[in-house]
């Protein structure tokens, strides 16, 4: 398939060519619109009941031998393995397990982590050696991104949002055979949590999904605690087949980094100020409001403005959502929000907050963002502030490809929260490293423009024309509103017009799946 890939493609609603079928994976429908799925029948796997086990009382789950654990799991060539990315760049479990699998002579595995940390360049070697032949992830960075963009995997990589991954698992698109779940604190029976231990990482929201759905679950821990683990259990023992004890699951200094600080960069601060002004003008910041913001310096600066405003106007919000930063926990502890719903914790100051604060609630990725369950929190969200690598004139967002066309980002919860929130604000500098952020057409659509309400930069605020109401709010508040085409021209006068990277359009190296399982875009091999 590698040279003459010859996938039959059709154009989706965003005029992007996407395959109708990927051999070895499944048939695909093209993206139509954010909530087109409400009109159609969903195909769910035949009801198979819950995976049952027959185990004698008090059987021993613990081993310190990776290879024995793998043998017991029944893993075979061609199967699918999964990991979570809660240990971020400190994770040592993914390389440790992949290396053992390579030594055991495994081949042709599908790797389906919740995402890949920046640091895991070794995964590229596993792709080259044939250990990993398929990859399903939220993103691909560094050497892994370069290898994929160079066409080193025959089967296109499937890139999904956090919500989309849960949907794929629950709908059977991803069938996890063995999940290796790093457990910062774990007991002999596999009860585990992320909020204790030297490698503590906070919420285990992504891992909870894998624990529920994998055919075989192995807890990997460097911190075996007395039974029963207490006071907190994130994943209960009845979901865990084995407990694998290793020397170290990661580097604590890279797992729980120091609390992110609010940026002092004046450009970031201006972006944040503009984003906040728009949020305030929207009228959504009232009692009972809900809010999600990332952990980047500019995002935290938006949160700081929101907090000051809530203090001044005596507003108490309902909940904060998402990847949780120390700043959001401070807002919880100071009474600005009733609760924080945490699928993933960002920094050290969050890690032990769940044991301290009853209203800091660990939620799993399905609860966070899965569009096909009985209601996810992303759909209850009022305001979300998101980042972007690039945006285009239709407000489509690329969080995945760099200016050179190479994969270098992760989708995360971007399309999930943009679709669910009443106000989705994308905040980014108007140009970075001398390159404009606004393109005529983004390289890879990750979040469709129809779910993005505004693009905020240091040079002004662009409002999606479909949001006439928001445009009026912004104008009434005398905010620096600019047409996105005008801002593009203004910036290109400074930077010049960049050439688009060259792609081999006959070779699809990755596909971006929308949260509902339709195809948003194809990523091509970089020439």
């Amino acid at each position: 398939m590698s040279a003459g890939q010859n996938l039959r493609t059709i154009e989706n609603a965003l005029s992007r060519a996407v395959p109708v079928e990927v051999p070895g994976l499944r048939k695909y429908g093209p993206y139509v619109s954010p909530f087109a799925y409400l009109e159609r029948q969903i195909s769910a796997p035949a009801k198979g009941g819950f995976p049952l086990r027959l185990r004698e009382p008090r059987h021993d789950k613990v081993t310190d031998d990776i290879k024995k654990a793998v043998e017991r799991s029944g893993l075979e060539n061609g199967m699918t393995i999964s990991f979570h990315h809660h240990l971020r760049n400190g994770d040592a479990v993914i390389p440790k397990i992949l290396q053992a699998l390579a030594e055991m002579g495994f081949r042709d595995l599908a790797l389906a982590p919740s995402s890949l940390p920046d640091s895991h360049d070794m995964v590229a070697d596993c792709m080259r050696s044939g250990l990993v032949s398929r990859l399903f992830s939220s993103g691909a960075r560094g050497e892994v991104g370069r290898a994929i963009s160079a066409g080193e995997l025959d089967v296109p990589v499937i890139l999904r949002s956090h919500g989309g991954r849960v949907r794929a698992i629950e709908q059977g698109d991803i069938q996890i055979d063995v999940a290796f779940l790093a457990a910062p604190a774990c007991d002999r029976y596999g009860n585990m949590t992320g909020s204790a231990g030297r490698s503590a990482c906070g919420s285990l929201g992504y891992a909870q999904v894998d624990a529920r759905h994998a055919r075989h679950v192995i807890a990997v821990t460097d911190n075996l605690e007395d039974y029963p683990l207490h006071p907190r259990i994130s994943i209960p023992q009845y979901l865990v087949d084995q407990v694998l004890v290793v020397d170290s699951i990661g580097d604590p200094s890279k797992i729980a980094t120091g609390a992110a600080r609010i940026s002092r960069n004046p450009v970031d601060l201006r972006i944040a100020r503009n984003a906040f002004d728009l949020i305030a003008a929207s009228g959504l910041l009232t009692n009972g409001c809900s809010f999600q913001v990332g952990a980047g310096g500019a995002s935290l600066a938006v949160a700081a403005c929101v907090k000051d405003y809530m203090a001044e106007k005596k507003i108490r919000g309902s909940f904060g959502l998402g990847g949780m930063s120390g700043y959001m926990i401070e807002m919880l502890e100071q009474g600005y929000f009733e609760a924080m719903l945490d699928v993933q914790s960002f920094d050290r100051s969050v890690t032990d907050s769940m044991t301290r604060n009853a209203s800091h609630i660990e939620i799993d990725a399905s609860c966070y963002a899965n569009p096909f369950n009985r209601g996810c929190v992303a759909h209850n969200l009022d305001i979300v502030v998101l980042a972007a690598l690039d945006i285009d004139l239709d407000f489509n967002i690329d969080v995945q490809t760099g200016h050179d066309g190479v994969l270098r980002g992760a989708i995360g919860g971007h399309p999930d929260t943009a679709a669910g929130a009443k106000l989705a604000v994308v905040a980014a500098p108007s140009f970075r490293g001398g390159v404009p952020t606004i393109k005529e057409s983004v390289t890879t659509v990750c979040t469709p423009g129809e779910t993005v309400d505004a693009f905020v930069t240091e040079r002004g605020i662009c409002i999606n024309p479909k949001r006439e109401d928001l445009l009026e709010c912004a104008r009434n508040a005398r905010l620096p509103v600019k047409d996105i085409r005008a801002l593009r021209t203004e910036v290109e006068k400074l930077t010049g017009v960049p050439d688009a990277p060259e792609f081999d359009r006959n070779r699809i190296v990755a596909l971006v799946e929308y949260r509902d399982g339709t195809l948003l875009d194809s990523v091509y091999r970089v020439k």
Partner: protein, 96 residues
Amino acid sequence: MLFKKAQAGTLESSDCMVVVSPAETCILEYSGQNETIFKRRTERIVREIAERYAPGASVQIQDRGALEVTLRARIETAFERASKEDLKEDPAGEPK
């Protein structure tokens, strides 16, 4: 007319480092994070400026995300410095 090799600019972000030296024809070596997407733009700018100073010049640019205006100013400064006959008057002197 160029008399010697001279440089201008810095390797700070949003700036660029330009080294100009005498040559038979106009030769451009353009490197940096934007080398693929801004190759054509940069060639055009260098040619425009080189025509005013010395059509025969070797120009090396390490781009750290400079805007066009910065690129122009740095290239011109490098040409000005390389065009000075008196070494003592060249404030930046010869690059190491």
